[in-house]
């Protein structure tokens, strides 16, 4: 009998919670209390966070010197491409009123330089930079090969436009003694860039390894002669080159150039006093209405000097609080009105019944 009934119900759907849409579940429903607590809590959090961020951003010390105009003659010289062999230097003195304590970083900053153009970003050969194939230049338009059809190494618009000013910071103890502030040019790149993304074709004798390629058109020296002082810092593994190749997201950007070597006078950072930047001016910016400056800065836990996050948090927190109070007011007003109407209704009813 049982078997028979089972046979008859052969098409009975499975009774599983899933198929019957009865999975146990938590019903999410925002009650008024929940909404207000979310609002007030996030308001408190944002305000607190914002003030904290502003305070830490304020602790940063920063010096920025724009040398586009200051080195005007050099800029003019560079506008003419035929003068590329002429060396132009320029010295910019400045006074550090307060000592910069801790680690000090030196950046160069470009204004209006579009490192984020679609064709610019594409114009590089990752295979070449990995030394997988030095002649792989297909992606590098418009700087693939020289007019003699020799591939550039490194090829592409990014590499070709590499920033090539030399900036030296000197500390002027008095009018006659100028001490060159010791700066480190290592440890300024991402570890992954230096050890994963970029590789030299070989450890030594780079000249031979790069045979069959030529230097990019705007470069004064080939890739294996970028740093005459440190043979390790040459080829694709040159730190300045790697930093440049990490293209910036916005047309105004800052790139790490050197960091302070904390020895001797500078063990605590940069002491207050007279300084000067000695700049070998090579990189033309006036042609495209760009500007450049050099920046000295200290850092905090949240990194750079931007006040934006702190301000955004503070404003958000404040707005949230305002909104929560407004909502609270609306909520209670409506509640009261409802109560009063129902009271009024009940009164009216009573009145009727009295009649």
């Amino acid at each position: 009998m049982e078997r028979r009934s089972r046979l008859q119900l052969s098409r009975l759907p499975d009774i599983t919670a899933m198929k019957q849409q009865q999975l146990p579940a938590y019903q999410l429903h925002f009650s008024a209390t929940m909404v207000f607590s979310i609002f007030f809590a996030s308001g408190v959090f944002c305000l607190f966070m914002g003030i904290f961020l502003i305070l830490s951003a304020k602790s940063i010390q920063k010096v920025e010197i724009n040398y586009t105009k200051t080195c005007g003659n050099c800029a003019k010289l560079r506008e003419d491409a035929f003068n590329h062999n002429k060396i132009c230097t320029c010295s910019i003195p400045f006074v550090l009123a307060k000592s910069m304590e801790g680690n000090v970083f030196m950046y160069y900053k470009l204004y209006g330089f579009y490192q984020n153009l679609y064709r610019y970003i594409l114009s590089r050969s990752n295979s070449q930079l990995l030394s997988k194939d030095l002649k792989a230049v297909e992606d590098c338009a418009p700087f693939k090969v020289s007019h003699k059809e020799i591939p550039f190494a490194p090829c592409g618009a990014i590499a070709n436009s590499m920033f090539n000013d030399t900036i030296i910071l000197s500390y002027n103890l008095n009018s006659s003694i100028h001490i060159q502030v010791p700066m480190l040019k290592t440890g300024i790149t991402w570890w992954t860039d230096k050890y994963v993304k970029f590789k030299n074709p070989g450890a030594n004798n780079l000249t031979d390894k790069f045979a069959g390629t030529t230097k990019p058109p705007y470069w004064p020296k080939p890739i294996y002669e970028l740093d005459p002082d440190d043979p390790e810092n040459n080829g694709f593994l040159n730190d300045d080159f790697i930093v440049w190749m990490r293209t910036a997201a916005f047309p105004t950007f800052k790139k790490l150039y050197r960091r302070l070597h904390r020895i001797h006078y500078f063990i605590e950072g940069l002491p207050a006093g007279n300084y000067s930047f000695n700049i070998t001016y090579n990189f033309p910016v006036t042609k495209f209405q760009g500007e450049k400056s050099v920046v000295l800065s200290t850092l905090t836990w949240s990194g750079g000097s931007s006040l934006f996050l702190g301000l955004a948090y503070t404003v958000t927190g404040a707005m949230t609080w305002l909104a929560s109070f407004a909502m609270l007011a609306i909520h209670f007003m409506l509640k009261q009105r409802k109560a009063s109407t129902s009271k009024w209704q009940s009164k009216a009813l009573k009145g009727q019944s009295r009649k």
């Binding site: 609002f39 330089f113 997201a249 047309p251």
Partner: protein, 1130 residues
């Protein structure tokens, strides 16, 4: 050849054909074009794989779905094609497959065998009558088919049959079920063939041991296949809306591209021109204008994700899932018939949540088409109620059923509860005996007795069957008949009555009579018919009895029972003989035969002696009144479209709550020409809404303005609750010209509408009428072939399955076996599907806007150079992997309230009808929300990294880190957004949501890993970004801020919306949430219906009975030849 092919593909043509079909869809074609654009290097701004991978996935999902569907069709085809049949080959019957049958073959059909070709039942069959349980009639009744005489003489002589060399010329294959003309030329003579001679594909042979047939039409030529037609593709409102929105998005996209192209032109002119020292223009770019032309297309490619590629495939998957829920729903499984509900179309689910009009068939849909002998009044005594000692009616239970054990031939399924009637029978009350005797004689039922003592009645109308069965159980067993005799077992004693005449039923007479000679040689006339008719024919002597009986009839009527009066008359031999001659003459007369016959009939059908009245319950299906109530609470209007008579239809309308006694008025339209119909309709309208006849009425002004154009009829509110009854003849006029608008206005104001005596075509016309002028979703529900047209015409067709006829079910979109499942289908599944679809759509559009528009803002900072914000791999995976599962999970599992609540508060259904949850306004909200989110998503990270650096002084403001911050924030934002949208957090939702976030981070580390980059340095360009950026405070600080900024406004809006713009649903939802905390849902109190006084319908099928056939004598041979038939006694 008889092969049926419903499948579309085979193994070879599947790929090209399916791809071709898929690319006919606009969205797929768009992405194909996009792909080609991407291959043009000058404008390509995204690598090819960002489009190809999603497109391939989308195409293959749809392809797999199509393949599975087609596989099922192949299986069905094979099953039908390989059924075996007996075919006459070279003088022998050979078993063969159905698909090998060809036109001109002679085949043998056996009892209960389905026919799959249109056979000319040119039947060399000897059996006198072939009943075909035709799928065509609503009542699944038996139709009589007869072979022409010249061929029926061949009997089953195979030699004769093989030698048969007749020639049939007939009309071309067509889809008219009730028409066939042809001519058989055989041995120099022409025989006329009509549809009575034709056995159609799809019918089943009954009561016939065998028959031979000549195959006329095969395969696709058969009437059934011609009728089923091509499946008309039904598109839902949401589909149409989606297409419009995609078009809007497309236009929006073009506008954006234009703006960006202009911006690019200006930028190139002002800055880019000078920046050429570092990035010279391509040689084909001569000016900034040319460059901006290219950029237009580049941005067209970058912003393509505005039109979401996976939208259509996701919608399909969601609908498929929600259809499976219908198939799986155990509460829609009908155990007695072992039939689960079936979603035959998987593309209409959300439309179920928007139904406003339900068109229902009556017989077999609202009613079970089971007639039950419920009560009777015999000689002034009422039987049928169980009354206790105090005289109160008692509710009956199954165990009170009377045991008919004393009668060996009783039907065990028959149930009756009043013991007094049995006592009267056993005591031998002569009136009661005569009453049942008349019931057992006066009918046209056929009996079949395959096993001794097990009688099976074949009745053309179930009413008759019920009456004869009642008589059988009380001891007057109709056992068999021949053309001249009726054998009745009277209280165990077999008596043979000589059948002298059958005065058959027709619509005008509304009665039928038989004249029999009893074994005692008395000539008796027994008559049954409508009370109004019989009363006038009664002998004056029984006026007082008539009054009592009429009182009883009123009682019956108030319970919604179908009634008949039964009377008899004893004729003296002489009178009968003279009448018989007249009758014979009238029968033979050629012209005006009908009229002459009825005059002759009237001569004998007078001075009748009243015996009593019967009351038959037209049994409603389970839960019909409750379902109708629930549906009308959900503001769904129910129209009954039936082929049945007005009286029965109205009766059923009352008993299933479509009409209520408290209604202000029920209008009946019965005009015979269009002017009268118009007047009647106007009169009704003036009562319902007097203002609407004035010229100043807004609807009239509206109609005057939009003359003859397609428009949407505005909703009108009547001043009370009304009903409308209209019959087929009047409807034909009402559907003409501009009367149809009048009809529509009146009908749509009524609470319930009954259309009776409808042809299948008219049913469809009514549905079309509402569809055309009202922008609402219509649903048609029916069980018979006559409902097919309406089922096909309506937005949603629902078939009641489990009855014999499969036609309706085969053409329906949803099928189940009980009417009351409709409320679950609509209010639970439909509502959920609609809510889910709306949530899905608004979220889906939002997530793509938020995703894509970021590129737009970035353009202002990168010289409009078509640089994307995100990594290419992120663009590829965003819709496909990172965000697909949570939204699918939501649209498959979310439920705002569970099924119990949805049924408790049918009012929750209203937003669907008004299309509140997703419309153009909601879409604009999504767009605005998307724009806001994209602004936050772009500018907060920008502010955070602009001129900023890491705490160790290294890079963070580079392009790749910025990408990572934006895309990670985006993932967090869309995920929290969907977490807010989900109201029903199941394990699966948790799994999908957290899983998606997990997958994002896993894939991130995989795609940005050192190994992949070193293998394919040009494809995976982001090595180490995840490692270097994900540990930075800027990153997480921006993500938190972005999430807060994106979520708080949404929560606030959700909180304030019901306060400022309350909708009726909000209140109910609030109540439900309150009730959920304090459990126990309020019990649904079924309202007791107070029976009102209505004159009920008489019970009769409106077709001609078998009378003519029985008396024609065709049955004689068969009965004599049938081996196991009951021996006829002369």
């Amino acid at each position: 050849n008889n092969t049926i092919k419903t499948s579309k593909y085979n193994a070879f043509n599947f790929l090209p054909l399916n791809l071709f079909e898929q690319f006919q869809r606009l969205a797929n074609a768009y992405f194909l074009i996009l792909l080609f654009l991407q291959l043009i290097p000058q404008i390509s701004s995204l690598p090819w794989y960002t489009t190809v991978i999603p497109l391939v996935v989308v195409l293959s999902i749809t392809g797999v779905k199509d393949a599975i569907d087609d596989m099922k069709r192949h299986q069905n085809d094979n099953q039908v094609n390989n059924r075996s049949v007996l075919r006459l080959v070279k003088g022998r019957m050979e078993e063969d497959k159905w698909m090998n049958v060809q036109v001109g073959d002679i085949i043998k059909l056996e009892n209960d065998q389905p026919v799959t070709v249109s056979t000319l039942g040119c039947g060399f069959f000897l059996v006198a009558w072939v009943g075909t349980r035709d799928s065509d009639s609503a009542s699944a009744a038996v139709l009589v088919k007869q072979a022409i005489t010249c061929t029926s003489d061949m009997k089953d002589n195979l030699d004769l049959l093989s030698a048969f060399d007749g020639e049939v010329s007939c009309e071309l294959p067509n889809n008219k079920l009730h028409r066939f003309t042809g001519i058989l030329s055989y041995k120099g003579k022409d025989y006329f063939l009509d549809h009575d001679k034709l056995l159609l594909r799809g019918c089943v042979i009954r009561n016939t041991d065998w028959c031979y047939g000549l195959v006329i039409y095969t395969g696709p030529d058969t009437k059934l296949m011609q009728n089923s037609g091509k499946y008309t593709f039904k598109q839902t409102h949401v589909d149409r809306l989606m297409n419009i929105l995609v078009l809007w998005i497309f236009l929006f996209l073009i506008v954006m591209c234009l703006m960006l192209a202009i911006g690019h032109g200006i930028w190139e002119n002002k800055i880019g021109y000078y920046f050429q020292i570092f990035l010279p223009w391509e040689n084909y770019v001569s000016s900034s204008f040319v460059s901006s032309l290219f950029i237009f297309w580049s941005y067209f490619i970058v912003l393509n994700t505005m039109v979401p590629i996976s939208l259509y495939v996701s919608v399909e998957l969601i609908r498929l899932g929600n259809s499976y829920y219908i198939n799986w729903d155990q509460k829609m499984f009908y155990a007695p018939k072992n039939t689960p509900a079936q979603a035959r179309t998987t593309t209409l689910n959300e439309e179920l949540g928007q139904v406003k009009y339900v068109f229902s068939d009556k017989t077999g849909t609202l009613t079970q088409n089971i007639m039950i002998f419920h009560k009777c009044s015999i000689n002034g005594t009422l039987y049928g109620d169980v009354i206790d000692k105090t005289g109160e009616k008692v509710a009956v239970s199954e165990k009170d059923k009377i045991d008919f054990a004393y009668n060996k031939l009783a039907d065990p399924k028959f149930s009756f509860y009043d013991k007094t009637l049995v006592e009267a029978v056993t005591k031998g009350d002569p009136w009661v005996h005569l009453f049942f005797l008349s019931l057992s004689l006066c009918h046209t039922v056929m009996s079949e007795e395959k096993v001794e003592g097990e009688l099976v009645y074949q009745a053309q109308s179930p009413d008759e069957g019920a009456l004869v069965t009642a008589a059988r159980n009380f001891g007057f067993v109709f056992r068999s008949r021949t053309s001249e005799t009726i054998t009745v077992v009277e209280m165990g004693e077999t008596r043979v009555y000589q059948l002298l005449a059958i005065l058959d039923f027709n619509n005008v007479r509304k009665r039928m009579s038989v004249i029999v000679r009893t074994p005692e040689n008395r000539v008796m006339l027994f008559c049954k018919g409508a009370d109004t008719i019989i009363c006038e024919l009664l002998h004056p002597a029984c006026i007082s009895l008539c009054d009592v009986t009429l009182e009883h009839l009123d009682d019956f009527a108030s319970e919604g029972l179908r009634t008949l009066m039964v009377a008899y008359r004893e004729l003296d031999n002489k009178f009968f003989r003279t009448w018989s001659v007249k009758h014979g003459e009238a029968c033979l007369s050629l012209d005006n035969r009908e009229k002459k016959l009825s005059i002759v009939y009237e001569e004998v059908e007078k001075d009748l002696m009243l015996l009593g009245a019967t009351a038959i319950e037209d049994k409603l299906q389970d839960g019909v009144p409750e379902t109708v109530m629930t549906l009308s609470k959900a503001k769904i209007k129910i129209w009954v479209l039936t082929g049945d008579k007005q009286e029965t239809a109205v009766n059923i309308a009352y008993s299933c709550n479509i009409f209520e006694d408290e209604m202000d008025e029920v209008f009946t339209v019965k005009g015979k020409d269009s002017e009268t119909v118009r007047q009647e309709l106007r009169k009704a309208r003036s009562k319902m809404k007097p203002d609407s006849l004035l010229d100043s009425d807004p609807v009239n002004i509206f109609l005057a303005k939009k003359h003859k154009a397609l428009f949407t009829m505005p909703e009108e509110v009547p001043n009370g609750s009304y009903g409308l009854v209209i019959n087929g003849y009047s409807l034909a006029h009402a559907l003409e010209g501009d009367v149809e608008l009048e009809l529509l206005r009146v009908a749509c104001m009524c609470k319930g509408v009954i259309c009776c005596r409808m042809t299948p075509l008219q049913k469809a016309q009514v549905v079309e009428l509402v569809k055309r002028y009202k922008k609402v979703v219509t649903l048609a529900i029916g069980d018979g072939a006559n409902d097919v047209s309406m089922i096909k015409a309506a937005h949603i067709g629902v078939g009641i399955s489990g009855q014999e006829g499969m036609q309706a079910m085969l053409n329906s979109d949803f099928a189940f076996s009980q009417f009351y499942y409709l409320q679950r289908l609509i209010l639970v599944h439909g509502r959920w599907s609609y809510n889910r679809m709306c949530k899905f759509l608004s979220y889906f559009f939002y997530k793509n806007f938020a995703f894509t528009l970021v590129h737009f803002w970035y353009a202002f900072f990168n010289g409009f150079s078509a640089q994307t914000v995100y990594d290419n791999w992120f663009i590829t995976c965003y819709n496909l992997i990172y965000t697909s599962l949570p939204v699918l999970g939501m649209s498959l599992f979310d439920q705002d309230v569970n099924d119990t609540w949805s049924l408790c508060f049918p009012e929750l259904y209203e937003p669907g009808q008004l299309n509140l949850y997703f419309n153009k306004k909601e879409f604009m909200k999504c767009l605005i929300h998307g724009i806001y989110s994209s602004l936050v998503l772009f500018f907060i990270p920008m502010g955070a990294v602009y001129n900023s650096e890491r705490s160790d002084g290294k890079e963070i403001s580079d392009y790749q880190s910025f990408s990572l911050i934006v895309q990670t924030s985006l993932i967090w934002v869309v995920t929290t957004q969907i977490a807010l949208k989900i109201t029903y957090w199941t394990v699966i939702s948790h799994f999908f949501i957290w899983g998606s976030l997990g997958i994002y981070f896993c894939l991130l580390f995989l795609l940005y890993s050192d190994g992949l980059c070193q293998m394919f340095p040009n494809v995976f360009q982001f090595p180490g970004v995840a490692r270097n950026t994900l540990n930075q405070p800027q990153m997480w600080l921006s993500i938190v801020l972005i999430v807060v900024l994106c979520m708080l406004p949404v929560i606030g809006y959700q909180f304030l919306k019901p306060l400022f713009w309350p909708v009726s649903v909000d209140k109910i939802l609030k109540r439900i949430h309150y009730c959920m905390k304090h459990p126990l849902p309020p019990p649904i109190r079924p309202r007791r219906r107070r029976p009102g006084l209505r004159r009920s319908a008489y019970a009769f099928s409106h077709q001609h009975g078998f009378g003519a056939l029985i008396t024609s004598g065709k049955t004689v041979k068969s009965k004599a030849l049938k081996k196991n038939s009951f021996p006829a006694k002369k």
